[in-house]
């Protein structure tokens, strides 16, 4: 059986950075597997700018950002195999993959880094009634058609969901000569970046309809329009507020789901709050030697943070291979208190060293709130913020020495405290 020290599944931003991280830590036997023809993952189709401010202190487009990492991977001579689909991962770290060139292969790895990214929520999962006609796309699929294949889905567009991909596609479709009639958002706030709302919608006079949703889809052979209605505080449509929007294209930007089918096959525990693996502060999953990072672990807001997290996973995978990951000791659960959604990591070892990084998404919009970390009822971190919003991840770095109380602690509590009205 083919063998490798570190096997990385996925050659997108996470996989590339994990490989670079592992190599720079000293690993020399690394293999990246990717199902597409070229490395770079979803960044290949994200031709807009805004990537890399944290990592490279400059604003790059997706393909440029990816190429920086691809160049590094190639300079280090890290082997990668594209057009290769992983179809199984076992708990003893045997990966089964298929490709045209190599047929079916089993590869035994000492460590595996899961970098499969996420997929878009489809229409079907929303249960939006109406016709099942063509013209309804997830924003990312439409993006692939326009930016990679050079094909336009349609010219009269409505966008459901105001996630960043939806906003970016509003601008792209406008640039390509289409008319975007509205961006419809169920929640009373957008989960997209303010910059994207201004530069992708406001710049072109595209209305953002907050607390609205698509309640009906029309068109037997092809989409001819959608019905949009306002929703109440219960997020249910308010009768009588329906309005028709003629369109030939409906783009959905209604959420991303980490793609963890392989993770589950390996018997890795999944956290319901993130739909990603349960990990400790080393990004190691419940199966020793299997690590997870990037959007397959939890959906990030910025690719820069994906790269940072993945580098760390790469380093730790190498430490694991070398037998250098410290005996973890008791894993202390991280509890999500008020306002905290989908935290990573879910466990911190009582013997954690260095800096422990917590990332989570606020459950709502909170102004002038504090983010607090408590161990044994004692605040070990308290950070004042001007604004917290579900669209932007909270990223906390906590020196491990602040966690020395962990030995006696049943858990670590992370919570948001809002000022009293």
């Amino acid at each position: 059986m083919r063998k490798t020290d570190i096997l990385i599944i996925g050659g997108g931003p996470a996989g590339l950075a994990a490989a670079v991280g592992a190599y720079e830590a000293g690993a020399r036997d690394i293999l990246i597997l990717d199902r597409e023809e070229h490395l770079g993952g979803i960044l290949k189709q994200c031709i807009h700018n805004g990537f890399g401010l944290h990592t490279f202190q400059e604003e790059l487009t997706g393909p440029e950002y990816a190429q920086r990492f691809i160049d590094q991977v190639q300079a280090y001579g890290i082997p990668y195999q594209t057009e290769t689909m992983v179809i199984h991962v076992s708990a003893d770290k045997v990966v089964t993959c298929v490709s045209r060139q190599n047929g079916l292969e089993h590869i035994q790895a000492k460590a595996i880094i899961l970098c499969m990214g996420c997929r878009e929520r489809p229409r079907g999962s929303l249960g939006t009634p109406g016709e099942r006609c063509p013209g309804v796309f997830t924003a990312g699929t439409a993006q692939k058609f326009t930016n990679l294949e050079g094909m336009l889905p349609g010219k009269e567009v409505v966008i459901l969901g105001s996630g960043d991909i939806g906003l970016i596609m509003a601008r792209r479709m406008t640039f390509l000569g289409a008319k975007v009639h509205a961006c419809v958002e169920l929640m009373p706030y957008s989960s997209g970046l303010k910059r994207n709302i201004v530069q992708c919608l406001d710049d072109f006079g595209i209305p953002l309809l907050l607390s609205h949703t698509v309640v009906d889809i029309h068109g037997r052979e092809h989409l001819t329009g959608v019905t949009v209605a306002e929703v109440g505080p219960d997020l249910k449509p308010i009768p009588g507020t329906e309005k028709e929007y003629p369109c030939d294209t409906l783009l959905l930007s209604v959420g991303l789901i980490p793609e963890n089918e392989l993770t589950e096959m390996a018997g890795v525990k999944i956290a319901p709050t993130t739909s990603g693996a349960v990990v400790n502060e080393e990004l190691q999953t419940s199966v020793p030697g299997i690590f997870s990072c990037g959007n397959v672990l939890h959906v990030h807001d910025l690719v820069d943070f994906v790269s940072e997290e993945a580098r760390k996973a790469g380093v730790n995978a190498y430490r694991y291979v070398q037998g250098e990951l410290p005996e973890s000791g008791r894993a202390v659960p991280v509890e999500m208190g008020f306002g905290v959604g989908g935290i990573v990591p879910q466990f911190v070892s009582e013997t954690a060293t260095g800096t422990v990084n917590f990332m989570f998404r606020p459950r709502n919009v909170y102004r002038n709130a504090k983010v607090i970390v408590e161990v044994n009822g004692e605040q070990v971190l308290s950070k004042r913020t001007m604004i917290l919003a579900p669209g932007e991840m909270v990223n906390l770095n906590l020196p491990a020495e602040k966690l020395k109380g962990l030995k006696e602690a049943p858990s670590i509590l992370v919570r948001i405290e809002v000022p009293e009205a």
């Binding site: 290949k44 031709i47 807009h48 700018n49 604003e59 790059l60 487009t61 393909p63 440029e64 190429q67 326009t146 930016n147 990679l148 294949e149 050079g150 094909m151 640039f175 390509l176 970046l193 303010k194 910059r195 709302i197 201004v198 530069q199 406001d202 710049d203 919009v365 102004r367 001007m386 604004i387 917290l388 919003a389 669209g391 932007e392």
Partner: protein, 117 residues
């Protein structure tokens, strides 16, 4: 003239209002921090945008992604897009190669953001 804008510096998205007579921005209100005030100043007097777009590639339907090397003035966006859309490149092209010089007299070049060929 009265201007209304949303600050893009952070998720606060402050609603800023200001007056502009073509020379001076006055009466800036609604911002929370200095970045917001500065943003309003530039956004009103000289708004600029990076433009990312697609050009044709000889012998293929698949396009090549490009960008303006630096932001261009906002009113130029659609003129620039028209020029970009009418451009075809011949492979090979590398990231950073100039595809269009001084697009629409903006003083800014359009460069490739991916490799082809």
């Amino acid at each position: 003239m009265k201007y209304e804008l949303t600050c893009i510096n952070c998720p606060m998205g402050c609603r800023i209002t200001a007056d502009y007579d073509g020379k001076e921005v006055t009466n800036i209100q609604g911002y929370t921090c200095a970045r917001g005030k500065a943003y309003a100043q530039t956004e009103i007097t000289d708004p600029t945008r990076m433009v990312t777009a697609l050009v044709g590639v000889e012998g293929s339907h698949a396009p090549l992604s490009v960008k303006t090397q630096s932001p261009i003035r906002k009113p130029l966006i659609f003129d620039a897009l028209k020029v970009i859309r009418g451009t075809t490149v011949k492979p090979p092209v590398h990231i950073g190669d100039v595809v269009i010089e001084n697009v629409c007299g903006s003083g800014v070049n359009v460069i490739a953001t991916e490799n082809v060929g």
